[in-house]
Amino acid sequence: MSKKVLVKGNVALCEGAIAAGLKSYFGYPITPQNEVPAYLSRKMVELNRVFVQAESEIAAANMVLGAAVTGARAMTSSSSPGISLKQEAISYMAGMQIPALIVNVQRGGPGLGNISGSQSDYFQAVKGGGHGDYKLIVLAPNSAQEMYEMAYDAFDLAEKYRTPVMILADGIVGQMMEPVEFNKPERKDFVEKDWHLTGCKGRHPRSVQSLLMKDGVLERHNINLQEKYKKISGNEIQFEKFMTDSAEIIIAAYGISSRIAKSAVKLARKEGLKAGLLRPKTLWPFPSNEISLLADSGAKFLSVELSHGQMVEDVRLAVNGKTQVEFLGKAGGAIVTEREIVAKIKEMIK
């Protein structure tokens, strides 16, 4: 009766990337993202596209750089410790302005941690991660459907701004199955850009690099990058609001936490508590302006995360002292429950 298929978030993500014209995937296994390379190892070969299981996460990320600089749509995926290993290449891609997709299906940290869902890599994703002044566009899906849609959109965003994009998912969104509708048209016929390295026979050689040693060149490059990031901040912020009008307490939550938070808001409303939810769908650029406007109405904020308090810092910056900002979170595989959120809301309303 429905066109919807039951698939894991990780598989939905693969389908989104494939529909977007993913030409080459490079990865290395790690739970809880293993369905991505497992699924693509079959699918990409069937489609006569490239699948490589690299010798390491570092190699995989650098292969993405190499593929994407030729104009191919390329991606890698991993989970937290593996994403740490990829940071050098990510910084290079930001510096070289190479569009590509990096997927982090977060697990518990620090270190090797465990394989449970977690949201402890927020700082790493939005505050740099690698070295140098750069930003990634960071998308935060909270359902299998959004894993599909965001993977699809990520490549267009990456190419529009010539910048790497990260999908910051988590073990729960990656592992759960939900009904998904694969409703995006297949993308093909990509046009060669004037910076793609395609072999210089019959034309001037092109060069894409991040080593810029000549006097003032790197300074100019950094200014250009910042201008680009400003443009992205102006154009690409995405968020969802739920019952924020006249709310006294607004929960800020992304990814899997936002779903638990939404249930908590419904529960709170049943008990007559004026709660609402603001869910950033882009973590960078962050919906600071929207939060600031909501804070003007006097609403207090509660950041709910599967971490010990990371996004809450950006909420505080956006609220800028206008109202109270509180935090509720757990890490290492523990989950915040709806009841715990409602209890915290009550405490804040008192």
Partner: protein, 211 residues
């Protein structure tokens, strides 16, 4: 209505597949659903579980905070999850290998699903779907029961005197029909297994007569 269902047993008993079937059945009925596996170091012989949430409304957490249904295919699973269940939970316990003469906090519905699969279906590996059939029947009986009570109250208190106030479609419980349709989808890549698994679901459904 929201059902939060846990299916647990030894690794290899098919708890992930049983959950998938329930989730697919929910899709057949146009309901919202999520399926979440235990994905640790489970292997044949260890314990594994999956959690399925079925709801008429958008689902928040795919993890069960208030689980109200459990399929326990072995005793360790029953002991592990029983304390987490809500008071009026429906529990299907595999009495082929779980003792039924013990005191339990919540009285399970005992169904010898391994024996039914082995002797009646002639395929012991279908025990998981026998249990799914039993759960569907038990949830249906429960819904009829509570729906009956509600209908009685409404009859006593209000004007509604006519008609069937106990429409299961309205209560959004999973139906046998959708489970059988789901079976065709779930086993679409292995068509030889469709009929035997349908039989298993039917047998489990028929076994449960009352709560």
């Amino acid at each position: 209505m929201q059902n939060e269902i846990i299916i647990a047993g030894f690794g290899g008993q098919g708890v992930l597949l049983a959950g998938t079937l329930l989730a697919q059945a929910a899709i057949e009925q146009g309901l919202h659903t999520t399926w979440f596996p235990s994905y640790g170091a489970e292997m044949r012989g260890g314990t594994a579980n999956s959690t399925v949430v079925v709801s008429a409304d958008e689902i928040g957490s795919p993890l069960a905070f208030n689980p109200n249904a459990l399929i326990a295919l072995n005793e360790p699973s029953l002991n592990k999850f029983m304390p987490r269940m809500v008071e009026e939970a429906i529990i299907i316990a595999n009495s082929s290998i779980i003792p039924f003469d013990k005191e339990y906090k919540i009285k399970p519905v005992f169904a010898p699903v391994t024996d039914i699969a082995d002797k009646e279906i002639k395929n012991v590996r279908t025990a998981n779907l026998v249990a799914v059939g039993s759960l569907i029947k038990a949830l249906e009986l429960y819904a009829k029961g509570s729906c009956g009570e509600e209908a009685d109250m409404r009859r006593q208190s209000a004007q509604e005197k006519e008609g069937d106030l106990c429409d299961l479609e309205d209560t959004k419980v999973l139906t046998l029909k959708s489970a059988l349709t789901a079976c065709e989808k779930v086993f679409s890549s292995k068509p030889a297994l469709i009929e035997v698994n349908k039989k298993a679901i039917q047998a489990g459904y028929d076994f449960v007569k009352y709560l």
